[in-house]
Symmetry: C2
Subunit: 298 residues, 2 copies
Amino acid sequence: MTKARAAGAGTEARTSPPFEPGRVAVIGAGQVGTMLGMALGGRPGVEEVVLFDRDPDVAAMSLDRGAGDRVEARVENALGADTVVVALPVGEIVKILDRFGSSVRSGTLVMDTGSAKTVVVDAMRRSLPESVAAVGAHPMVGTEIPGPAGARPERLRGAPFVLTPARDDPAALARARDLVFLVEARPVVLTAEEHDRLVARSSHLPHVAAFAVAIAAARADGRTAFGQLVSTGFEGATRLARSDPAMVASFLSANRHEVRAAVADMAEALTELASALDDPELLGAELARARRFLVEAS
Amino acid sequence: MTKARAAGAGTEARTSPPFEPGRVAVIGAGQVGTMLGMALGGRPGVEEVVLFDRDPDVAAMSLDRGAGDRVEARVENALGADTVVVALPVGEIVKILDRFGSSVRSGTLVMDTGSAKTVVVDAMRRSLPESVAAVGAHPMVGTEIPGPAGARPERLRGAPFVLTPARDDPAALARARDLVFLVEARPVVLTAEEHDRLVARSSHLPHVAAFAVAIAAARADGRTAFGQLVSTGFEGATRLARSDPAMVASFLSANRHEVRAAVADMAEALTELASALDDPELLGAELARARRFLVEAS
């Protein structure tokens, strides 16, 4: 992976002409697929964007938002494009790769957008021919609104867009990076394992925490009065718990191993903070250490 | 407290002329004191706003922001105003009440802004003469920026402003409510115990959670890569952990009993969610239940 990392690191000037995505297929026209379709449409080197969704209504809504030039009714046909982006929940991505991967044409660039990467790159390695350019991907941007209506392509600008190469294939990675630049996002090249470990804490844990705050609030009696007290602080802390529960359950579950470790760390932190409540100075010092990490990480 | 509640409930039309705050003293010219001084200055019935702060530089900064007409150098003199608002950390409020409370003039309205109310109303009952109108208060609005610079008086508009009467004194409560209306906030009348229980979950727990997410993130290695992955979701979930650690430690500690109960509920919720990670459907159902509470409470 070191070699792949080197090929993807930084913002070094490129020496080859940028990759042209050609005919692009977006498989899964929900929030993320619609966002990418909208962001890719009309960019240099993009001949057309074709949308596939199992639910024709979703595909039609996505088309309505300008995410593609046409809808393709069969996933097998969509997989015949030059660039394929599978924008589905992780479990579905793996199913499609395992079922149809062997028929993908040589030279096709296959990416996904799943929020857990180890299981996806494993499926890519297992099911896509060596001649296919396979790069796991995860745009770290989204909204709480599910479906095509939630797509906000403008948020891609400057957003981290993780790339986890499935194979030691610098040319494939270079093409994936060019696609990320095309939508004005910021490629971050990691191994799938690094991604899963970090994202468990940067994205999945905040979701779990938001739901856990809501559950603890629900356990207080006096609900009516509670509603009157809801502050901007509470709203901010629980914003992620307004996401689609099935979607969140799906990505948490797909990364369960790392999520469980992150939740255990958080539970331990809660216990430590709770036991420092009697000593404001000790508590303040613990909080200051946590705050320092945030300031350094941002 | 039932009687006090009835007197304070709802937005019923008033039958008496509104209370005139007269000469107002704000004791403690930090973020909250500055906010209230700015919001009260020039309102009908406000003759002047006087600022006291132990730190003359803070008082001067607050005056600069327009939070008062002049600075008073001695807290004893400030306590001679018609309306006194003690805007300090809970421990300091209790100290001032216990030390100087017995000398407060009959008919003075004394309020505070502390984020834990049981210890404050206990001190009010203990240390203020019966003839003083004593109402605990907690404006549920603030920013992460400490000191006068963090004051955002415009956020008071429509914000919940909890009132916890120290005594069964409907006239005192009516005056406190008028003051809340004067700054365009929304009075919410509760007993001190109700306030502490609810705020532990609506405000204090979100703070603890934000710090705990940051601590769990810090425990992952790969800090450099972590910084590249920070998403809007992570930023939102940890926003409260950018607050002044000493201030947060102080209000968490002042409400430690209820905060500990809320943290225990949250830790239990985390454990339940973690153990549901193997079963996305069960997990989704638990998340959906939490989400429903949020939708109903807002």
